[in-house]
Symmetry: D2
Subunit: 152 residues, 4 copies
């Protein structure tokens, strides 16, 4: 099976099968071995500060962790020689987990839509390090993140 | 007004008025100037990994940020000389914000109930540093966190 | 006085007047309001692992903190309206300090020369966030860092 | 060979055989599987800010990384069944490395002597997470740190 198809399937799974993603309205809108893009729209239920209509920091950190995690998954898939054995693939992906996450909140989370992108900085045998960014629809840089994921 | 009453009011506000807290079921169960305790119960809608019934990492980071933020708020209140001027209090609290957050995921988020505690490590003129921990009902240590908050 | 001259002076000060920089052999080789570049050569006295001839992690974190700190200084200078009052400039710069630093060690610190670059991700009224990278002379990416600095 | 003797040997190695530790004057003064203590004295050559006689942040981060790394080593040793095969021990320890380090600078590094302590928060199969603190001789809390180490 082609890498592209597997990543597409994982993106769909993240969109449709994880309740928290559906609550936030997270959608994986672009996903290949180079980068991932996740989008979600502003909604009252995501607000941390009602008066100022600012996104809850937990929504930001959730989106950051999801984006970094997807790139960690992509880096595992990219390294596998045989993608046809789905049992092995599933076993490898079940081991992927966040070791730690740092989120830098740069500006208040204001906007109509939020776009989170992630890329892999380094993927070794055991851990992957990813870098994440969140912007709004006006390209205002709202948050920056670094994640470490166990991948093997 | 006494510090105790103000903290109680803020705890109630966090429990009842912030939609994301209600979705997760976050409840501030203990809050003074020394420490805060937040609890929430396991629920299918909080799961990140359906097969393994493990908490979504974003729920963990959200609870950590909330607990750290409450301690940052407590440290602002503790330093104020006059707590009767609610307008000034509100103005000061509106400036509190997360600068950055690090979450270390120590073990899979399994359990019936999760307890997040936070304390202030250092509260200066401009920033406060807090330390957070998440355990489950069996006292298994699930996550550890460090937060930096703007307080003045 | 022009920004350029002030930054040049600060670079010289960092090169010549700080004992630890001289011990490591840190040299600020490029410094403007957009980015800073710092270089140092491999030396036995900087080794953490003698058998493998790998740089001590503390040398890496030191160079990262210095590079991030210089960009925090640059962002303070860039915002000042009057650069001719050296007393005010000095007072402002004395307040710049590292709030926290995260270093991600991506690969073993092997090489003949190490190049650390930093840029500002966000500079607000009170804190600046910087991003740092360390490569060796063969452009191998050795470390990545994020720093938060108090600037006002 | 007893764990205690091995840790003593590693402590001596860190004190005597690593040039950067000797430059700083780092001494491992207490080291068992529960905690490590490292001490060093104030010295002009360790200063980052000459006017204010404050420790260079890089010295702090170096000491933090060393203390966390020693606890990661201790957790590897604690898990080994046979400590008599020095070749295997050496091979295992050669794999220990810092994945990432966060240092929170709480107060200016003033003092006559600095004491860094570390403990393991979590030691899994592949990574260990450690928590570090630096105080001066008057028990002023100067810095706090979190480290992630590859251990297997």
């Amino acid at each position: 099976m082609a890498t592209e198809m597997i990543l597409k399937g994982i993106g769909s799974f993240f969109n449709d099968m994880i309740p928290l993603h559906q609550h936030i309205g997270l959608r994986v809108t672009d996903f290949d071995t180079e980068r991932v893009e996740i989008r979600f729209s502003f909604d009252d239920k995501l607000v941390g500060n009602m008066t100022q209509q600012i996104l809850h920091g937990g929504v930001t950190s959730t989106a950051m962790d999801v984006a970094g995690g997807l790139m960690a998954i992509a880096s595992v898939i990219e390294k596998m020689e045989d993608l046809n054995d789905l049992a092995i693939l599933q076993k490898r992906l079940a081991k992927v987990g966040t070791v730690n996450l740092r989120v830098d909140y740069l500006r208040p989370g204001r906007g109509k839509e939020f776009i989170v992108t992630a890329k892999v900085i380094r993927s070794g045998n055991k851990v992957a390090v990813t870098s994440m960014e969140m912007h709004n629809e006006e390209e205002i840089h709202i948050a920056f993140g670094t994640g470490t994921y166990l991948i093997g």
